[in-house]
């Protein structure tokens, strides 16, 4: 744990127990202890430790189902962690009863169509939290809300209108104003530009850049869009199946990704093709395994070109590989950051068919 951590997650895990289906209750086994129905547990986040320095923007990237949104919600205090804790300036953000006790962390959600109550006027939606926390008074609420609306590039008069009167980009601005009106020090943004068109997306990215400068915000920026993350973030953490597999300052991560998954992920992004040459992207073989039955050892082993016998049995810990960089890989370790073997030649994905890996993993996890 770094001492200059502002927001920190310490060994946080989050598991969801799925409700047992009726059909499974029928199939329940009777044992000496009674009826045992199969319990299905989703390991959404598995012992994640990370920190964000004051004023830093940390990007959290990964594919859908890797647990990045769940981690974001745990860090915000919306979801209690199954184990581990979240600390803000060294103090837990949850009390013993599992209630969030810190207003200084706020969240912006992906879909502004879903996160704004269609029946509330915008002004009321923004004022609700600050009023409850005594950040403004009923008499001063209108001016307070107007101030935040102006700050995100909207007119103060928008407060009297309903969400349906706004476009997607404007709604996202409203959602950002609502989070900022709580005067947070940490803003957790869960895919805030994913549902927006390219030209509008650029406007919102610029807004984040501007707000960060003006309010010296600390941010966690969750996204699957590696281009947006590169643009906005100082440091990036890469998640795969509930675990952080690599974290690194942005520039060095994109220049020289170390973990085989990070490399494969970066290589799979299509780039703008300006010449006639073949497109410069390469797919990752296979699919994300199910978090219901995570594979043994390193979760990436079945799709990894550098797989070793140890990867099938032991979970690699996240350990330092260079200044400010960490990776969770048995093959990529400190010292050989420059000499690690590269995956097989360009344009040639591993000769594995796109198998549905779930079956293998079930066997592995036994």
């Amino acid at each position: 744990m770094t001492s200059d951590a502002f927001l920190a997650a310490e060994d946080v895990s989050k598991r969801f127990v799925l409700p047992v289906l009726w059909s499974e209750r029928v199939a329940a086994r009777f044992t000496r202890r009674g009826w045992i129905a199969p319990v299905r547990v989703v390991h959404a986040v598995e012992s994640v430790s990370l920190f964000i320095r004051r004023g830093e923007v940390l990007g959290l990237v990964g594919e859908s189902g890797c647990g990045k949104s769940t981690l974001g919600r745990v860090l915000t205090g919306i979801l209690p962690a199954s184990s581990g804790q979240v600390l803000l300036e060294g103090k837990p953000i949850m009390n013993a009863a599992g209630r969030k006790i810190d207003r200084r962390i706020q969240m912006v959600f992906q879909n502004p169509y879903a996160s704004l109550n269609p029946r509330n006027r915008v002004g009321r939606a923004i004022a609700e939290g600050p009023l409850a926390h005594g950040l403004t008074t009923p008499a001063g609420a209108a001016a307070y809300v107007g101030g935040w609306l102006t700050r995100v590039g909207l007119d103060a008069s928008c407060a009297d209108r309903y969400p349906h009167e706004f476009s997607g980009g404007q709604r996202q601005r409203i959602a950002i104003a609502r989070a900022l009106a709580m005067q947070p020090e940490v803003l957790i943004c869960d895919e805030p530009v994913a549902s927006l068109d390219v030209s509008i997306q650029a406007q919102i990215i610029n807004l984040f850049l501007q707000l960060r400068r003006e309010l010296s915000l600390t941010m966690l920026f969750i996204s699957h869009d590696l281009g947006v993350v590169r643009h906005l973030c100082d440091r990036v953490a890469v998640m795969y199946l509930g675990r952080i597999v690599e974290s690194s300052p942005t520039a060095s991560l994109y220049e020289a990704p170390q973990h085989p998954y990070t490399r494969a992920l970066l290589a799979s992004v299509p780039k703008l093709r300006l010449d006639q040459e073949a497109a410069s992207f390469r797919p990752i073989a296979g699919e994300l395994p199910s978090p219901l039955a995570p594979p043994s050892g390193c979760a990436f082993h079945a799709r990894c070109a550098l797989v070793q016998p140890i990867c099938l049995s032991d979970v690699p810990p996240l350990r330092p590989i260079a200044e400010g960089r960490e990776a969770a890989c048995h093959v990529v370790t400190a010292g050989d950051a420059r000499t690690i073997p590269q995956p097989p030649g360009p344009g040639k994905p591993r000769e594995t068919p796109f198998t549905d890996k779930k079956i293998d993993f079930d066997r592995d996890s036994e």
């Binding site: 030209s199 650029a202 990215i205 281009g227 299509p270 497109a279 068919p353 796109f354």
Partner: protein, 322 residues
């Protein structure tokens, strides 16, 4: 070479209580056999409605108000529904954005594929099975024979989209229209599908219209790109030419908005404002209110100008302005 598809001045309007919504308003383009056209635009630009219009899938209050779509020598606009049906799914197929919506959740993969096959052909059960396995293998589903009796929910998102593509391929169509087929998928899966689509198109010589909002995805696949804005194609041309030397300020604006083109941390050169309402389009060029190059001339409709192998609609094209 005679074009496989020739679209001329196609216009599809939706007659709503608020007035006529001009979703597609005068779209013309053509497609050679085996060619891949990327149709790019933001939401509301009319790219999906264009795809639906080609297939004759426009329902009231929408109506194709004018234009012509010639496909393999047939005029599709105004064709009787019965004749259209014999073409749709057989010569002209579509892949939609969300395979969870287009696959029937209560039918096995085999059942839905055989329905699609039998719509145009009488085949024995063995022949159906063989054909299904053949196309599923073609789109990269391993051990297809054992997956035939599975239901859509037993497949992952990427696998489901492969099934949807396989269904489109059943009759060896000469044209596939794919509407944002990878938007709902993760980058790694998207890369798999893109690679497979590219190989398929080369191997079986099908033409493809790939509708997407993502310039990078389109550029990895398409021979030509058409950029749509507010119901019109504002620029069209060979992929490399459009991306390297865009003539229309909107194309340039879209390219500049991509984070990869700006130094990290710097403000992105974004396009101000948003797309005008299709109910109330501005006079002349629809992009003029957001355009830095606009002047008085832009209140009149810009004609289509051809340059090199491309074309654009702009009074002040980039690099050609007098």
């Amino acid at each position: 070479m005679t074009p496989l598809l020739q679209v001329t001045d196609l216009a599809t309007h939706f007659f709503t209580r608020a007035g006529a919504l001009k979703a597609v308003d005068g779209v013309s383009f053509q497609l050679a056999p085996g060619e891949v056209l990327g149709l790019v635009g933001e939401s509301g630009s009319g790219k999906t409605v264009t795809g639906f219009s080609l297939l004759g899938l426009i329902e009231p209050p929408g109506k194709i108000v004018r234009g012509s779509v010639r496909f393999e020598g047939h005029e599709l606009i105004g064709m009787r529904e019965r004749d259209l049906r014999s073409i749709r799914g057989r010569r002209l197929a579509m892949v939609f954005q969300d395979p969870t919506m287009t696959l029937n959740p209560v039918l096995t993969i085999l059942r839905q594929m055989s329905l699609a096959l039998q719509a145009h052909k009488q085949l024995s059960n063995d022949a159906i099975r063989a054909r299904c396995i053949e196309v599923l293998t073609l789109v990269g589903i391993p051990d297809a024979g054992s997956r035939l009796d599975a239901y859509p929910h037993e497949f992952s998102g990427g696998m489901r989209q492969r099934v949807a593509i396989a269904i489109a391929l059943l009759h060896n169509p000469s044209l596939i229209i794919a509407d944002e087929p990878t938007t709902a998928l993760d980058v790694s899966v998207q890369a798999q599908i893109l690679t497979e689509m590219r190989d398929l198109v080369r191997r079986i010589g099908t033409s493809l219209i790939w509708i997407s909002h993502d310039l990078a995805t389109v550029s990895s696949l398409a021979d030509r790109i058409a950029v749509m804005y507010a119901g019109r194609i504002v620029e069209e041309g060979p992929t490399a030419q459009v991306l390297k030397q865009p003539r229309h300020p909107y194309t340039q604006g879209l390219l500049d908005s991509l984070p990869s083109r700006t130094v990290p941390g710097q403000a992105l050169p974004h396009i101000p404002g948003m797309m005008p309402s299709l109910l109330d389009l501005p006079q002349g060029c629809s992009y003029a209110p957001r355009c830095g190059r606009a002047d008085d001339r832009c209140s009149s409709d810009p004609a289509l100008t051809r340059v090199d192998a491309g074309a654009f609609r702009c009074h002040h094209p980039i690099g050609l302005d007098e």
